[in-house]
Amino acid sequence: QQQVKQSPQSLIVQKGGISIINCAYENTAFDYFPWYQQFPGKGPALLIAIRPDVSEKKEGRFTISFNKSAKQFSLHIMDSQPGDSATYFCAASSGGNAGNMLTFGGGTRLMVKP
């Protein structure tokens, strides 16, 4: 059962454009939503994360928008750069005593053209 659905699978954006990646979740117990960036041959690196009591979080060029009622969240990369070309994963977890293990979306391969 895929509990976190991510789209699109791949994305091509021109340099300076906005990259938008969307995720939807099913489990209402999820209360932590991180985004990870992964380069080939490397492990995922935490980019930015949000909790459901906040509708938006911005860190530099990266913004998470969160819609609790729709059970959706998205990553916006402003002024996209060729160095942003990587695979992006959304994830979700529930805290408390549930262990905090991450459930990942399927990933989005982003290519930013110069």
């Binding site: 991180p34 690196a45 293990m101």
Partner: protein, 115 residues
């Protein structure tokens, strides 16, 4: 060390052999997680440790997989009688604790190839 360290970075072995993968978490992190990344299944949770205890082993694919953690630090993931479907990148992550949604920091993984 500064980050999560995994060894070996690459492992090629024959079907039926046993393999042992090692993870050295960030100093002071009490929670440690193993995930598997494969083309067909994406990133999937295997097991986590809080200290030396593994409260949730539900993600282990079969009884050929086992993991342990000693001294609240280094962890090893062992796969016995490897099969070709075990080929994947095995990722380890650590966080300060396994609750309160602490950020998880990943190593670069062990790429396992079963011939």
């Amino acid at each position: 060390g500064a980050g999560v360290s995994q060894s070996p970075s690459n492992k090629v072995t024959e079907k039926g052999k046993d393999v042992e993968l090692r993870c050295d978490p960030i100093s002071g992190h009490t929670a440690l997680y193993w995930y598997r990344q494969s083309l067909g299944q994406g990133l999937e949770f295997l097991i986590y440790f809080q200290g030396n205890s593994a409260p949730d082993k539900s993600g282990l694919p079969s009884d050929r997989f086992s993991a342990e953690r000693t001294g609240g630090s280094v962890s090893t993931l062992t796969i016995q009688r490897t099969q070709q479907e075990d080929s994947a990148v095995y990722l380890c992550a650590s966080s300060r604790r396994s609750y309160s949604n602490q950020p998880q920091h990943f190593g670069d993984g062990t790429r396992l190839s079963i011939l």
